[in-house]
Amino acid sequence: MSERDGQRMLRADALAAIYPQLARDDVIVVTIMGAVAVELYQLGHRANFFYLEHAMGLASSLGLGIALSMPRYPVVVIDGDGSLLMNLGTLSTLARYRPGNLTHVVFDNESLLSVGGFPTATSTGTDLAGVAKAAGVPSVVRADTVDDFADVFTQSLAMQELTTIVSKVEPVGPKSFHMDLPLLENRFQFRRHLQHLAARAAME
């Protein structure tokens, strides 16, 4: 299950393993705030990445709105246990509409890392993969090593089925949370990129 002498995998390693797929111009990527956003940003920002720097819980709702509005493009939401626990109802809404182009990644570090590392309920037994399955998400996968994670992510991106991937990761993040990207610049750049994709789809 785990690697690195009993340690869980590092989220940064998992992100690095799928970065070439995320960086594809036609893949739409939405992340939550904090360590996840910074780690993806540090791999190399792209116009198809949007980092939701607040509004905890709504990244998956945002991804659903994009996935339903742009069904021809793969949408990836990179979520976390703290954010998902704030909006568990989102799993029932995702499952209800089950857009096949949406891949929902949940990095579960059992911690509110970015605000001081307070343990979340997944540290005392709440099973987010179980919750997603019971909510009706058609494909729910656990992947706790980098190789497994990269495999199931690649499959999900190619498959037309809503998938939630839950991966246990170490509660460690970057030293600095600084990103040289004002949130409005990210917002307008991301929208412009999606407009280009939509225009391209309309021409095909």
């Binding site: 945002l62 709105g65 509005s69 949130l183």
Partner: protein, 172 residues
């Protein structure tokens, strides 16, 4: 049912006229006809929510994708969405057309609606959200059109309050 089908049609047709193609909703009595119209319309994406705040994220996604959207909710749903409105829609300057049934206002008979009814306008004002009542079928299409234009040009949430006068057919 005393909820006005005719005026629900006026509202729905006005939303279609400004090219709203996605509606998120959480049902309540005054909204049942509107939600059914969205459901019966093959050109409309209807997203039924577990909690209204999800709709803020969904509408943001629609905006990024170039799709115009609206949220249909009760004022208590608006109150439940405040953090999403502040730290997503306002922080990120998102256009967000919110149609909010103003329960607990003049003529309300249900005691449980009244506290929310009384704080709705003060909360909207505190948030700096432009807010307008929809109270008659003649002006409703124009106000919806203007509210949509304002939301898009100012990149802000705009609230349209569905009043008892518009939504309810019995004299109250």
């Amino acid at each position: 049912m005393p909820v006005s089908v005719t005026n629900s049609h006026v509202i729905y047709d006005a939303l279609r006229a400004v090219d709203v193609r996605l509606v998120s909703a959480l049902p309540e009595t005054w909204l049942v006809h509107l939600i059914r119209m969205a459901e019966d319309d093959p050109e409309m994406i209807l997203v039924r929510l577990a909690k209204e705040e999800e709709g803020v994220g969904i509408s943001a996604g629609a905006h990024f994708a170039g799709v115009k959207s609206a949220m249909l909710m009760q004022n208590h749903g608006f109150l439940a969405s405040v953090n999403g409105i502040v730290s997503f829609a306002q922080l990120y300057k998102m256009p967000l057309l919110m149609l909010i049934s103003h329960r607990g206002d003049l003529g309300e008979l249900d005691p449980w609606q009244t506290q929310g009814g009384m704080v709705t306008l003060p909360v909207l004002r505190a948030l700096g959200i432009p807010s307008y009542p929809l109270s008659d079928p003649v002006s409703t299409p124009r106000i919806i059109r203007q509210a949509q234009a304002l939301a898009e040009s100012a990149l802000t949430p705009v609230a349209l309050l569905l009043t008892r006068d518009l939504m309810w057919e019995e004299a109250s």
